[in-house]
Every structure is written in C-alpha cells, then in structure tokens.
C-alpha cells in the first residue's frame, strides 16, 4: 500500500502538526469566540422569552382565578340582596294585610256601635214621643185632669205592655 511508504512520513507529520496548530490558532483567535457568543446569546434570548412567557401565563392564570373568585362573591352577594328584598316585600305585604284587616275590623266595630247607638236613641225618642202623644191623646179623650205623675205611670205601663208584646 502506498500509504506505508515511510519516506513521506516525516514531511506529512511535520506539515500536519504545523497546519493543525495554525488552524487551531486562527479559529481560537478569530472564529470561535464570535460563533459561541452568538449561540449563547441566542440561547439566552430563547430562555428569557420562555421564562417571560411562563411568567405571563402564570400571571394570567392568577388573574383569572382572581376574577372568578370576585365573580363568585358578587353573584353570592346579589343572591343575598335578592333574598333580603324578597323577605322584606313579603313582610311588608303581611304587615299591610294585617293593618288593613285590623282597620276594617275597627271600622266595622265603629259602624256597629254607631248603629246600635242610633237605634237606641231612636227607640228612646220614639218612646218619649209616643208617651207625649199618648198623654196628649188621653188628655183630650178623657177630658179628665189627672196629675202629671199619674199620666206618666199609666203611659209607662201601657208602653211596657206594648214593648213586651212587640218583643214577642
């Protein structure tokens, strides 16, 4: 094999070492720092934006939870208000009803009493008038003078008899 011809070895080894050293120097000095810096910068940027996205996401989640809690609280409050309003309305209604009933009762009572009173008054009046009239009639018819007390006693007797028979 031609690769084992040893008289090329020294030149190959020499130039290999020289070229490799030169390439290492050139790349180390001029190429690698730039490329590695760009790669690292890009990696950092990607990592940063991922971190930021994560932060935003968790913040949004937190906000959503917040809003949900608030919404829940608000709806509970609304329910409470509604219940209270209903209760109050119910109470008012009942109160009103009671008041009206009582009023009606009172009016009815008043009216009954008044009617009773009027009736009594009327009966009394009728009694008086009837007595007077009877006296006058009797005076005229009998033409006899009785004293006043006799008249009254007689009339009352007559009226009692009348009242008894009218009650029957």
């Amino acid at each position: 094999m031609p690769q084992f011809e040893s008289h090329f070895f020294s030149s190959l080894i020499f130039w290999e070492v020289v070229s490799f050293a030169m390439l290492l120097f050139l790349l180390y000095k001029f190429a690698f720092p730039g490329i590695l810096a760009v790669l690292e910068e890009r990696e950092k940027k990607i990592k940063d934006s991922l971190d930021q996205a994560e932060r935003h996401r968790s913040e949004a989640e937190r906000k959503l939870k917040d809003y949900e809690a608030k919404l829940n609280a608000a709806s509970k409050e609304a329910e409470g208000i509604l219940a209270a309003a209903k209760e109050r309305a119910q109470r008012l209604l009942e109160e009103n009803e009671q008041r009206l009933t009582a009023e009606a009762e009172r009016i009815k009572g008043d009216a009954t009493r008044e009617i009773d009173h009027e009736r009594r008054k009327a009966i009394q009046e009728i009694r008086t008038q009837t007595t007077d009239m009877a006296l006058m009639v009797a005076e005229k018819v009998v033409q006899r003078s009785l004293n006043d007390a006799d008249h009254r006693r007689l009339a009352d007797e007559a009226l009692d008899a009348l009242a008894k028979s009218s009650v029957k």
Binding site: M1, P2, Q3, F4, E5, H7, F8, F9, S10, S11, L12, I13, F14, W15, E16, V17, S19, F20, M22, L23, L24, L26, L27, Y28, F30, A31, F32, P33, G34, I35, L36, A37, V38, L39, E41, R42, K45
Partner: protein
C-alpha cells in the same frame, strides 16, 4: 485509470525541502492540508463575523458545526469539557474537511494516510493520559482496574485493561484510515469501470459512482464524528476516573 486501485494514494514530492535533518518536502497531501486550513479558516471566520441573531446561510453553517461539536462535548464530558472546545472543534473541522475534500476527483484524501490519523490518535490519547495523571496522580492507574474486580482476578484483568487502553489510539487511527482508504478504493474502481466500459454499459458503474459518492459524503461525516466523540470519551474518562471520584479498588 488502468493502474492499481491504490494508485490515487501514491504521493510524489514536487518540491524537496529539508529542515535540518528533517525531510519536509511538499507533495499533494501537504497542499491539501493547506487548502483545508485556508478553507476552514475563511468559512469559520466569515461565519463568526456576521453575528446576526437571525443567521444567514454561511453563519448558519458555521453555527450548526459549532453547535454540533458543543453538543458532543456536553453529552460526553459535561460542562467541564468546554475548556477543550477549541481543540476538539479544530480536530473535528480539520478531519471533516480533509475527508470531504478528498471526495473531489483529482484531489487527495489526507486522512487516508495512516501516519496522519496515527498522529491525531496519539496526540488525543497522549493528552488524555497526561491529563489523567495530572488530575489524579498515581490514582489514575486505577483506570486499569475496573470497579468491583475481586482481588484474584487482578492478574488477568490488568493485562486485559492495559490492552484495551492501548487499543484505543490504534482503533482511532486505523478506523479513520481504513474507512477513508476503502471508500476511495471502491470509488476509484467504479469510476475506472465507468470509463473503460464506454457508453454502452458504462453508465451503470457511473450511476454507482454517483450513489457511492453520496454514501462517501455520509462516511466522511460519520468518521469525523466518531473520531470526535471518541476523543471526548477518552478525555472524559481521564477527567472523571470511573465516572466518579470515590471508586472502590
């Protein structure tokens, strides 16, 4: 193309230079090394000077290569390994471009010379051994004793481990050399067939030549990759002895 399939590996000095007693004559392989150095330097410096956040084509290529090597180092050696980045990256790029340039008809594959691959292998392996002794002192000899070996097995295990250690640079050198040589021999034979076969059936080996060339690009890449990975593995072994500091003897 009627010559031996090994013909393309022959070298001829066209400028004889002697430095002291050392023969450093120029030949095709040496010129190819220079070409590789020039090409890689221009490519990587141009790629490195763009520094755009959204890279152009050339910058992308440079960054892919650098990121690739960085990935290998981080996988095999961890963050500590990044101090070797310039050396390992240069090694990878040098070997990769030597392999690739050799595929151009009429050029020369530097890595098909066993001395070239042997020098790389010895430098890499020598470095890992030196580093192991510098970091761990005499304890580094423990690399010859696999953890958990019973005492009576030591006379057997130590020679086996010694051989497997010494086999490392040899497998490194032989693998690259053999793959680069074999691939080019096949390519050369097929191409020779295509030329001598003429128009009638010549297209068949020619089609094979093209297919093989595609395969060879893959092999050129894989071999550079393997060389780099093993370099990292060996350096990593010297770095973290038996994977941890507190191994049992």
């Amino acid at each position: 193309m009627e010559d031996s399939p090994l013909h393309p590996f022959e070298l001829h000095n066209f400028l004889s230079i002697h430095l002291g007693g050392l023969d450093i004559s120029l030949n095709k392989a040496v010129i190819m090394m220079w070409v590789v150095v020039g090409l890689v330097t221009i490519l990587m410096i141009k790629a490195g000077s763009a520094r755009q956040l959204i890279p152009g084509k050339l910058q992308s290529l440079g960054e892919i290569l650098v990121d690739f090597i960085r990935g290998i180092i981080l996988d095999t050696m961890g963050k500590d390994g990044m101090r070797f980045f310039p050396l390992i990256a240069t090694l990878f790029l040098f070997i990769l471009f030597c392999n690739l340039i050799g595929l151009i008809p009429g050029s020369y594959t530097v890595t098909s010379q066993i001395v070239v691959t042997a020098v790389f292998a010895c430098v890499v392996y020598g470095m890992s051994v030196v580093m192991g002794f510098v970091l761990h002192g005499a304890k580094f000899l423990g690399i010859l004793v696999p953890p958990g070996t019973p005492g009576w097995l030591l006379p057997l295990m130590v020679p086996i481990e010694l051989i497997s250690q010494l086999a490392r640079p040899i497998s490194l050198a032989v693998r690259l050399f053999a793959n680069m040589t074999a691939g080019h021999v096949i390519l050369g034979v097929l191409f020779g067939l295509a030329v001598s076969g003429g128009l009638l059936i010549g297209w068949l080996p020619f089609a094979f030549t093209i297919a093989m060339n595609g395969l060879e690009v893959g092999i050129a890449f894989i071999q550079a990759y393997i060389f780099t990975v093993l370099t990292c593995v060996y350096l990593g072994d010297a770095f973290h002895l038996h994977g941890s500091e507190d191994h049992a003897h």
